[in-house]
Symmetry: C2
Subunit: 393 residues, 2 copies
Amino acid sequence: MDYFSSNFKLGILGGGQLGKMLLTETQKFDIQTFVLDPSEEAPARFGCNFFYNDSFLEHDVVYEFGKLVDLLTVEIENVNLDALEKLESEGKLVYPSPKTLRIIQNKGRQKDFYVEHNIPTAPHRRFVDLYHIQKAVENNELEIPFVWKSAQGGYDGTGVKIVRSTLDLINLPDVECLAEALVPFKNELAVIVARNPKGEVKTYPVVEMEFHPEANQVEYVLCPARVSKKVSSKAQEVALQVSKAFNHVGLLAVEMFLTEDDEILVNEVAPRPHNSGHFSIEASYTSQFEQHLRAILDLPLGNPESKVAGVMVNLVGDENFSGPVVYQNIDKILAIDGVTPHIYGKRETRPFRKMGHVTIVNEDMKEARKIAEEVKNSIRVISKPVELEQETE
Amino acid sequence: MDYFSSNFKLGILGGGQLGKMLLTETQKFDIQTFVLDPSEEAPARFGCNFFYNDSFLEHDVVYEFGKLVDLLTVEIENVNLDALEKLESEGKLVYPSPKTLRIIQNKGRQKDFYVEHNIPTAPHRRFVDLYHIQKAVENNELEIPFVWKSAQGGYDGTGVKIVRSTLDLINLPDVECLAEALVPFKNELAVIVARNPKGEVKTYPVVEMEFHPEANQVEYVLCPARVSKKVSSKAQEVALQVSKAFNHVGLLAVEMFLTEDDEILVNEVAPRPHNSGHFSIEASYTSQFEQHLRAILDLPLGNPESKVAGVMVNLVGDENFSGPVVYQNIDKILAIDGVTPHIYGKRETRPFRKMGHVTIVNEDMKEARKIAEEVKNSIRVISKPVELEQETE
């Protein structure tokens, strides 16, 4: 199959920042792209060949969009799966497969899948609604504390609560959910595995998510993770096991806990390029976005190793600002060697909205980590004062 | 000034591959771009915010286009300078300045400029037309052999001829020209200098253009050049001297000869991202395209040093093929570690047309150079057989 400067058409469901960064690679290879996103202001609206401004949750929209292209991929899991299954049954190539997406979309089903495939994961129990989980606690079938997770729709830490007392149970939403054992862990790690339809597999180095000591937010993603060779080998092995279990095509980002006993437990997966792989644009021989493209197109996979150490800092909207975005002190961070901001192209900031990220690369991880802290403490994502806005508009 | 996700508008004259690769960086920073190019099929037609399909040689087109934007840059030198001068005189920011472009557009004027500024360059003499250069040879004022260069419009080696006998003189075009001493040289080198309006300057490592032993064509661009520390320091110094002499803003690629006596002679310059800097996308901390953007926007310049060694191979159309392009064996080169093809997005190949390039990076230059040869010998830019074309259309 010819992809390069040809009539081949790649469809992408979702036009967010992941779609936008994927388009950098389709442009590099001159592969025609069709993007579907409900937002007129989607970050990926430029850079694709055709932008369709409609919903990826509507069956008929996704089905008709899919018929326009030769191969479909996603940059978001929450899409209409019935349409994707219909397209796949009619012979359309869909990577990741709707079967995998269906397992992943429901966190309970996802956990069951790990258990069925002997993939290490924290013990869990599924509940159809709030009443049943409350009942289980009442009957001493479920011990407090535990981690409550909404089965569907959680994103970036929403849909997850630690239940430490029966009081915490009252305020939970009445949805399908699961209870997971609260396992003390030292580290959150992630490994991205790429697999193409031929079955070729490449595994990125293990990355470490470093959390803010107080706020429960990832502050830095570090590659390589500061763990022993033994731990990183084990983490890569587990990630490979997950990728094989799904018979996955494309990228699979596997998020894991490293317990206090150096055990690896799979937390959850994302079947696409992932925040934990953004460092790869600057640090790796093959960026995760190029790798995803190579994988779904059944091209040979690229070298996942790193040229230099990388640290990624998310740029999220300051909690006190909403409105037209301003990136304060961006010139200060640009003056530091090895610092690359990525601005996703969202015109409006909101508290904690993901507006961009900054990658810091250096031959020395310690130095990169130090600079990352400087970056984190310098740049602020705020909004324009209203007066200024009126002047310039 | 706010550039990131703001109302700031950058105009780019020319929508070729250089414009396209520049857009990767404007996208990364979410800077609004307007591109002007006469070809509907220009490689940069996607990736910009607004594409204007018109001539950059027409005064009124360039002038009106310039009025739409806040800052103008070029990805090609051969644009309407009267319009740029008018825009600049009216206060519009134009980088590189039309004054510099006017000097560079005429190779005779460019050479005079080097002499006036004590920049080492091969001795030359200017002639208004063919008659006068023939006359000078006749009168023994000009000794054969020498290098004949058309004063205007030469590109990628066209407009240059070595005159070895009076017979060679007969077939030359009747245009303004110059005669340059034929200096034996060991190497062709290039250095890219970035300078912002504040006067901050950064110099990329010296690269080496390796020529095919028989065909007079650059085969590989290597960074770093395989020359002594002394030679590379001298080359960087001369490049800096040229950048200062022009008071240049943006990138300036300075092409140089290294003579057999280890002297540096400036050949010519390009006031923009340049073929000799393509390696930087994969090999450098800051790619030449991001650096050009930082420079013209008066942002702090990025680190021009390399993470790894890089070799660049141009992908030019095979001399025996014309028509819809096919990249033969691209899957073979993708299977090699550290190999990244860039496909410019030209649908039709023609003999020697620049269709893309391939970058090879490696920790070891010898290994990179070896792989580059493998790449060069594998990939071919040909056209589809006519039958196949009919089938697929």
